[in-house]
């Protein structure tokens, strides 16, 4: 993966400036941190990321990561930036809220379906499944329970 990154970097900077350097109107050097991830044929990707995060913030973030993780980082930043530009109030957090509600709904439906099944095959067959752990949030982030968004116009608490 690292070798692929280095090859990409060399090819891109030797032919034409990357989308970032084109946007920033600067020379695209061999060491350009953006070049492997912002090809010149995707100008909007960098434009969005720059508008939401700023080039220097992205540069610092990438420099703090090993090269093997930078592509995923850039793609997730691009996704979030795109989401934020489409929905300036909630960004991709709106999607998290929707997914949490959907998860809760599916869990409720599943519980109900299994209760119905218990009428046919007996309660002991479904009890272990009914008591499977459930959560609506993201325990590894530990964020969802703490944040509440006013219900003026948004997706509600999550």
């Amino acid at each position: 993966m690292y070798a692929v990154v280095k090859v990409k970097e060399k090819i891109l900077s030797s032919n034409s400036p990357c989308a970032a350097c084109k946007f920033l109107r600067r020379k695209c050097t061999q060491e350009c941190v953006f070049a492997p991830y912002f090809p010149p044929d995707q100008p909007q990707k960098f434009a969005n990321v720059h508008k939401v995060y700023g080039a220097s913030n992205v540069s610092k973030l990438l420099n703090d990561l090993p090269a093997t993780q930078r592509e995923d980082a850039v793609n997730s930043l691009a996704y979030e930036a795109d989401a934020r530009l489409r929905d300036p109030v909630y960004g991709c957090v709106g999607l998290i809220s929707i997914l949490q509600r959907r998860l809760k709904q599916v869990q409720t439906d599943l519980d109900n379906a299994k209760r119905e099944l218990a009428n046919y095959i007996g309660p002991s067959a479904v009890l272990p499944i009914l008591h499977q752990g459930r959560f609506w949030g993201c325990p590894e982030l530990g964020l969802s329970e703490r944040l509440s968004i006013s219900s003026n116009s948004g997706p509600g608490t999550f």
Partner: protein, 194 residues
């Protein structure tokens, strides 16, 4: 809405930026001095000037939600610099997929029992007499539109498993806006390496 009187003490943003917190400071209502980490994270990920521009571009009654969602994203990114919030989205999508499959299987079983294809195994049922299922709305769960988003205007349609996380550029898929409860993603084939 938290408010910080600049007469009393500067807001968390102006404290961080080491500047005078003026009346009308755009940050003051949303970054109270007792939550310094909130602004510190937002500043680290987005930068003060980007946040200012964003807040100036939206209506005042939406700014609190915007700041809170920015703070949420910033904290997620600080905790997970590679995936940020997107890690949570992928995780939730997988959970929804998993539970939906279980629900589909349970519904299929319910239909089979209701149609008398599988013996119920209940001791009082005769093997000669047809099994009469309890009088209930057996179609309730199979026909339920799981995909409908409550409170949203999407209208849904029959639930479809959301695609795996779509990177808009790596796979050239368009992400549809979700703020009003629209569809998730533009199709399958997203990167599965999360």
């Amino acid at each position: 809405m938290a408010s910080s009187s600049s007469y009393n003490s500067p807001c968390a943003a102006c404290k961080f930026l080491r500047r005078k917190c003026m009346p009308g400071c755009i940050f003051a209502p949303y970054f109270p001095p007792e939550e310094p980490q909130k602004f510190a994270n937002v500043h680290k990920i987005f930068g003060a000037s980007n946040v200012t521009k964003l807040l100036n571009d939206i209506l005042p009654h939406q700014r609190e939600d915007a700041v809170n969602s920015l703070a949420y994203e910033a904290e997620a990114r600080v905790r997970d610099p590679v995936y940020g919030c997107v890690g949570a989205i992928t995780f939730l999508q997988r959970q929804v997929d998993r539970l939906q499959k279980e629900l589909d299987a349970a519904n299929a079983d319910l239909i089979r029992y209701a149609c008398n294809e599988i013996p119920s195994g209940l001791p009082h049922m005769s093997s000669i007499q047809p099994i009469t299922p309890p009088q209930r709305s057996i179609d309730h769960y199979p026909n339920r539109r799981i995909g409908d988003i409550d409170g949203g205007g999407g209208g849904g349609g029959f639930y479809q498993s959301p695609p795996s996380f779509p990177y808009p550029y790596a796979n050239h898929h368009q992400w549809n806006p979700s703020g009003s409860g629209g569809n998730l993603g533009g199709g399958g084939g997203g990167q599965g390496n999360m």
